[in-house]
C-alpha cells in the first residue's frame, strides 16, 4: 500500500474547504486555540474550520538511526508557492508500518527532520502548534486516552505552552 497524500495545487477552490470541512475529510482533534492537534496515522484529516497551516513535510526518523519511519505532510491545498510549500488545511501522517513512504525526492522544500519518540507518539512543534504524531484514533481508544496523551506529552515537551501567547 502506498500513502495517498492529499492533492496539491487545489488552489483557490481549496479556500472553499474552510467552510465545508465535513464534506472533505475527518476533522483533526485540536484544542480551541489550535496549539495542540492529535494526528493519528494513515488518515487524511482536515484542520478545524477557520484554521490553516503552513504546508510542508515533517520527516520522522526512527530513534538512533537514519531510517524514516513516518512522513507528516501538510498539504498546500489553499495556496501553492511551489516545492510543496504554501498554505493548507489538509494533513496526512504516513507510517512505514502500514504503507510505502513517499520518496525523498518528493519532500517539500521546507522539510524538517525529527526523531520518533520511543513512546510511539512524537510531538512536533511547528509555528505554535504541537502536532502529536501517531496519536491514537479517537474511535479506537476513546477520546479520554487522546486527552491523556496530549496532556502528558505537551507537559513534558513544552510546559510553557499552556495559556501562552
Amino acid at each position: 500500500m502506498t500513502c495517498r497524500f492529499p492533492l496539491r495545487a487545489v488552489g483557490f477552490a481549496g479556500l472553499l474547504l474552510l467552510t465545508m470541512p465535513a464534506l472533505a475529510a475527518p476533522i483533526a482533534s485540536c484544542n480551541t486555540t489550535f496549539t495542540i492537534c492529535a494526528i493519528p496515522e494513515n488518515i487524511l484529516l482536515q484542520l478545524p474550520s477557520g484554521f490553516a497551516a503552513i504546508a510542508g513535510d515533517v520527516i520522522v526518523d526512527e530513534p538512533g538511526g537514519a531510517v524514516v519511519s513516518d512522513v507528516f505532510r501538510i498539504s498546500n491545498n489553499l495556496i501553492n508557492t511551489g516545492g510543496g510549500t504554501g498554505l493548507g488545511n489538509m494533513l496526512f501522517l504516513c507510517s512505514a508500518d502500514d504503507a510505502a513512504l513517499p520518496p525523498a525526492s518528493t519532500y517539500s522544500a521546507n522539510a524538517v527532520f525529527i526523531t520518533e519518540d520511543p513512546s510511539g507518539v512524537t510531538p512536533f512543534l511547528g509555528n505554535g502548534t504541537t502536532y502529536l504524531l501517531g496519536a491514537p484514533e479517537p474511535g479506537t481508544f476513546g477520546l479520554l486516552s487522546v486527552v491523556i496523551a496530549i496532556a502528558l506529552l505537551v507537559r513534558r515537551q513544552s510546559r510553557a505552552l499552556k495559556g501562552g501567547l
Binding site: I54, G128, G164
Partner: protein, 542 residues
C-alpha cells in the same frame, strides 16, 4: 483570533520562562523594556492574540438586517515562479480602489476603559483621560503625507495608507478615500480587576502602567459588542494598560489587537483594542522608543482596514506564508500590515493640533504578494519606505565599483534626495567642544567642500560630526566604523545642519581609504537605490 501569526509562541514563552525563574526581574539595556521604578523589565510588545475563531454572531433577526461593515472583495495577482499568477480574494474596508473615486466613512466609537487595580491603594488607569489626545491625533485629524516627492494628500493616517497602497493600481483615483468618522465617545466602562487578573506597576518616571490578564480582558470585552453595529468600528481604549497572562509584567505586553466575529462576514462585527502608551513607559530599542501615544492604535487601524474579518474563516485575508523580518523566524499567514515592521526603525511622526504623534510604517499588499513592480506609490513595499535599506553605491574606480548593502541609515540625516560626488577622507571629524568642554576640533585631512566626506566613528556624537561636515560644505557623509561588524545606526546627539548620510562598515571604509591612495572615488547615496524590506526565507511546516 486576530492575527494568524504562526510561530511566535515559542519565542515569547522562552522569554517568559527565563524571566519567571529569576529571583529578580532581568535588568536589561537592549531590546524593548518597560521602565518600572525598580528597574527596566524586558518585555515582548505584540499586536495580536493567538489564533481562534471569533465569537459567533447573534442569530436574531435584528442582527441579520443590520448593515454590515463597508468593505469590498477583490483579487490581486500573486506571482510565484512555480505557480504563475494566482488570485487570492481579499476583503478590505472601503470600496474597490480599482473602481475609482469614492469616499467611505466608517462610523467610529471610542470606548474608554477605566481599570481599578487590586494593588494597595487601588491605583486607577482611566482611558477617559486620553480620549482628547486620541481625538486630536492623526488617526482622526488630517496631516500631510508624502511618499518621496509624491504628495499622498492631507488626510487621516489610515486613508493615507490606503491611498498609498493602491496609488498605481489601474483605475485608482486621487479622489479615493477611506475615512474614520469623527468619533462618538461612549460612556466610560469601569472594570474592577480581581486579584490575580491584573496589576498596576509604578514607572520610574512617575505614573503607572497596568497589565490585565488577556483572557479576562477578552471576557470583559465580548459582552460589550452587543452595543455596537457591524457597520461601526468600536475602539476600546486604555490609558497605558496592556495585556499579559495573569496580569504579570513578565508576560507583558499585548498593546493592541483587532478582531471580528465569526462568519458570515456580511454582518460580522469588528473592533479594536489599543492602549494609549504614555511617554517613558517603553524604551530600550528603536522599537521601544517608538511605542508611544497612538502608535499601537495606528498599527491596529491599518491592520483592521486591510484584514477586518480575522475571526471569520472565509473572511480572513490569507497570504503566502511570510517570514516576519527580525522576529526570530516567526511566520505569518494573513495580511497584517503592521506585524512585519514591529521590529526595527518603523515609526514616524506627524503633528496634528500642535502635538506630535508617533505612527507606525506599514507594509502594503505587494510586499506579501511578491508583486513586481509594486502597485503602491513609488513602487514601494511599505507605506513610508522607512525600513528600506539604502546601499552605498561606488561608481568609480572600476575595481571597487558596486553596491555595498551593509549600510545603515540615520534618522536625523535621511537620504531624501540623491547625492553623487567624490569621496574624501577627513579623519575623525569631531568639532570643537564635542568630546569634552574645551576640546579642540579634529583637523580635517582634506577639504570637504562639495564632497562626500568619509569620517571615522568615535570620540563624539555622530550627529555632531555630520553637522560640522555640513557646515564645512560637505554634500554627503559616510560614517566609517572603526571595528569589525555590521553597519549600525546611531541616535541623535546634537547638531542642526545635516546632509544625506550613511554608516558603513569598517571593511567598506577601508576599501575606500585604500582606493583613495591611488585614485578618486566617486559614490552615490540615493533613495532610488533603496532595497525593499527583506522578504525572504521559507517558513517551516506547521
Amino acid at each position: 483570533m486576530q492575527s494568524l501569526r504562526r510561530g511566535e509562541t515559542t519565542g515569547v514563552l522562552l522569554g517568559m520562562t527565563i524571566l519567571c525563574c529569576g529571583a529578580t526581574f532581568a535588568q536589561v539595556t537592549d531590546g524593548p523594556t518597560v521602565n518600572l521604578i525598580d528597574g527596566p523589565v524586558s518585555v515582548v510588545p505584540t499586536f495580536d492574540l493567538p489564533i481562534s475563531p471569533g465569537p459567533a454572531q447573534s442569530l436574531s433577526s435584528f442582527a441579520a438586517l443590520a448593515p454590515g461593515l463597508s468593505f469590498y472583495t477583490a483579487s490581486y495577482p500573486a506571482i510565484f515562479p512555480s505557480f504563475g499568477a494566482f488570485p487570492l480574494p481579499f476583503n478590505i474596508v472601503g470600496t474597490d480602489p480599482a473602481l475609482g473615486a469614492n469616499t467611505t466613512t466608517i462610523p467610529t466609537v471610542l470606548v474608554p476603559l477605566k481599570f481599578v487595580f487590586p494593588n494597595p491603594g487601588s491605583p486607577t488607569l482611566d482611558g477617559t483621560n486620553v480620549v482628547p489626545a486620541v481625538q486630536n491625533s492623526p488617526i482622526f485629524l488630517a496631516a500631510d503625507y508624502m511618499a518621496g516627492s509624491i504628495d499622498i494628500g492631507v488626510t487621516q493616517f489610515g486613508d493615507a495608507l490606503q491611498r498609498a497602497e493602491f496609488w498605481n493600481l489601474p483605475g485608482f483615483s486621487s479622489n479615493y478615500h477611506v475615512l474614520l468618522g469623527s468619533p462618538s465617545i461612549a460612556p466610560t466602562l469601569t472594570v474592577i480587576i480581581p486579584a490575580g487578573k491584573g496589576n498596576a506597576f509604578a514607572l520610574s518616571g512617575g505614573g503607572f502602567m497596568g497589565v490585565v490578564d488577556t483572557i479576562y480582558f477578552e471576557q470583559t470585552l465580548t459582552p460589550l459588542l452587543s452595543g455596537y453595529l457591524a457597520n461601526q468600528l468600536p475602539i476600546f481604549l486604555t490609558d497605558n494598560v496592556f495585556l499579559g497572562t495573569n496580569g504579570l509584567v513578565q508576560n507583558c505586553c499585548i498593546i493592541g489587537y483587532h478582531a471580528s466575529q465569526g462568519p458570515p462576514i456580511a454582518t460580522a462585527k469588528t473592533w479594536i483594542y489599543a492602549a494609549y502608551a504614555e511617554p517613558g513607559t517603553f524604551s530600550g530599542s528603536q522599537v521601544g522608543v517608538g511605542i508611544v501615544d497612538v502608535e499601537p492604535l495606528s498599527h491596529e487601524v491599518a491592520e483592521w482596514l486591510n484584514d477586518p474579518f480575522v475571526g471569520a474563516s472565509l473572511g480572513i485575508n490569507y497570504i503566502p506564508p511570510a517570514v516576519l523580518p527580525g522576529q526570530g523566524g516567526s511566520c505569518i499567514i494573513n495580511f497584517e500590515t503592521g506585524d512585519p515592521l514591529e521590529s526595527g526603525p518603523t515609526t514616524f511622526t506627524k503633528v496634528t493640533n500642535g502635538t506630535t504623534y508617533s505612527l507606525q510604517d506599514e507594509v502594503v499588499l505587494p510586499w506579501y504578494l511578491h508583486s513586481t513592480p509594486s502597485f503602491s506609490v513609488n513602487g514601494w513595499y511599505t507605506f513610508q519606505n522607512l525600513s528600506a535599506a539604502i546601499p552605498l553605491v561606488i561608481n568609480s574606480p572600476a575595481n571597487i565599483a558596486g553596491s555595498y548593502t551593509n549600510a545603515a541609515k540615520l534618522a536625523f540625516a535621511p537620504i531624501n534626495t540623491p547625492v553623487t560626488g567624490n569621496v574624501v577622507y577627513v579623519g575623525r571629524g569631531c568639532p570643537a567642544n564635542s568630546i569634552s568642554p574645551g576640546s579642540p576640533a579634529d583637523p580635517y585631512l582634506a577639504n570637504p567642500s562639495g564632497q562626500i566626506v568619509l569620517i571615522d566613528r568615535g570620540a563624539c556624537a555622530v550627529s555632531l560630526k555630520i553637522d560640522a561636515a555640513a557646515n564645512a560644505g560637505a554634500i554627503g557623509v559616510l560614517i566609517g566604523l572603526v571595528a569589525p561588524g555590521d553597519a549600525v545606526s546611531f541616535s541623535y546627539g546634537g547638531g542642526t545642519n545635516f546632509v544625506p548620510s550613511l554608516v558603513i562598515t569598517q571593511d567598506e571604509s577601508n576599501i575606500i581609504k585604500g582606493a583613495l591612495m591611488s585614485s578618486p572615488v566617486n559614490a552615490t547615496l540615493s533613495p532610488a537605490n533603496a532595497l525593499p524590506v527583506p522578504h525572504s526565507g521559507l517558513c517551516g511546516p506547521g
